[in-house]
């Protein structure tokens, strides 16, 4: 669906070098701290900024050769941009109708009513939740094959986030070939939605793993100095000094559970994995 090979972008004190791939029918998450390079990656995919190197292909086609017809197959949400805030939903409908040949007006209006979005109010006067829902709604209402969503849930309360994820799930259910690339820094969103996750830090991908594997095989080992000395470190990805000794991140929980029954093993959550991957020392 989407393939990025060594995408390079250089800013004053930031260097992005990112490769990732989204398979057909998959939901792929991109996690990372603020300033890790998520938005730069998204903007590069969408051709909003020039890139210094690498290849980006969508549906097997280089994005440089992308036509407006190809763009119709994409649904986009950007965290910091949307339709002009001076427009109303009423104004946007004819615009979308004229831009997307497959725009589903009745679906769009139905969803607007479902989420009680005001037709006659300027978007700039919407609440954060309403704005976010409208953005996602625009992305999913023209039968896109690939959604590219940059922080669609940022700043939302739990209920609004749930509704938004529900919209995405419904979108996926309608056609098995649909895919999503989504970024967020709220890991629980990604945990429940994504098939696989990429972790980006300082412009580089530091981890790529299936969500299931991440949740089942990754764990934190909490050991004291002595235990740490005796520990077989071949499956330790990162370790970090703590007050009580060390905490170590592993991707082979089972191995340590069987061989070191006395060690305290804590099931890995995405947040912990991120923290350890970023803060911990490499083995």
């Amino acid at each position: 669906m989407l393939k990025i090979e060594h995408l390079k972008k250089h800013y004053n004190n930031f260097f992005l070098d990112c490769s990732l791939e989204i398979m057909q029918g998959c939901v792929t998450g991109l996690i990372g701290q603020n300033g890790a390079g998520k938005s730069t990656t998204f903007k590069s995919i969408l051709g909003l900024i020039s890139i210094d190197g690498g290849n980006i292909t969508i549906f097997g086609k280089d994005i440089k050769d992308f036509t407006t017809k190809d763009k119709e197959e994409l649904g986009i949400v950007l965290s910091d941009s949307g339709f002009s805030g001076y427009l109303r939903i009423k104004d946007i409908i004819p615009v979308l109708q004229n831009m997307y040949s497959k725009f589903d007006k009745s679906f769009f209006i139905e969803q607007v009513q479902r989420f009680q979005l005001p037709l006659d109010k300027k978007i700039k006067d919407f609440s954060t939740g309403m704005k976010a829902k409208l953005k996602v709604l625009i992305a999913i209402s023209h039968n896109a094959k690939l959604l590219i969503l940059d922080e669609p849930t940022a700043g939302l309360d739990v209920i609004a986030r749930d509704e938004l994820l529900e919209m995405l799930r419904e979108f996926l259910e309608k056609d098995e070939e649909r895919s999503i690339l989504i970024s967020s820094h709220i890991s629980s969103d990604l945990e429940s939605l994504c098939d696989d996750l990429y972790m980006i830090h300082d412009g580089k991908i530091i981890l790529h793993e299936d969500t299931d594997v991440l949740l089942s095989d990754y764990a934190l080992l909490k050991v004291d100095e002595k235990q740490y000395g005796e520990l077989d470190k071949q499956f330790i990805l990162r370790s970090k000094k703590e007050v009580y000794g060390y905490s170590c991140l592993t991707n082979q929980k089972q191995y340590y559970m069987e061989n070191y029954p006395k060690i305290a093993i804590q099931k890995g959550t995405i947040d912990e994995v991120i923290t350890m991957m970023v803060r911990g020392n490499e083995q």
Binding site: K43, L48, E72, V95
Partner: protein, 218 residues
Amino acid sequence: MKGLLVKDFKLMKLQKNFFLLILVIAIGMIVFTNDVTFPLAFLIFIVSLFTLSTVSYDEFDNGNAFLFTLPITRTSYVMEKYCLGLLAGCGTWIFATILGMIATVFKGTLTITDLIMIALLILPIMIVIQAIMLPFQLKFGGEKGRIAMIGAFGILAIIGIMVVKGAKAIFNVDIVNVFNTLPTVSMGMAVIFAIIIALAILLVSMKISISIMNKKEL
């Protein structure tokens, strides 16, 4: 492109009160003064400037980034702005000219031929002004664009004055007088010539704008 035009008309509709006010002022001037030509030019220029405001609306809250993820190209975006400028400008031009003609008939201060000639002279000026302003607006955005534009018009005015004065001083030709004494027939030719040149300038300006937009990082 049609989608973009729809969007821009919706955005321009937001300013309908302001537009009505301008219209009232123009009609007021026609009714209460003997000058028909000034309100004519006033109306045409203001409306053609309205198209520029849509660029600012597009940029509001970083809206451009999202706009260019829609199924449009940067080239078609620029072309749409020029089309919009011409549509709004020419539309108002027709409307204002008819308004002027009605006023002329009632007041009898000018002949219809003179009025049409003046209206025809406004047309290339309007086109050239748009040709200058759009690249500035696209390059520098709403706020900085305005300042850059004032500078550009200042320079243009100085060049104009220098050409007139220079022609008089060096070649002893009074350009203003030449225009004034031009017979109506060749005046008509001059107008057609001016419109062709203005359209050529507009085309060059569009090329420049397209390259500005293509280089823009959003």
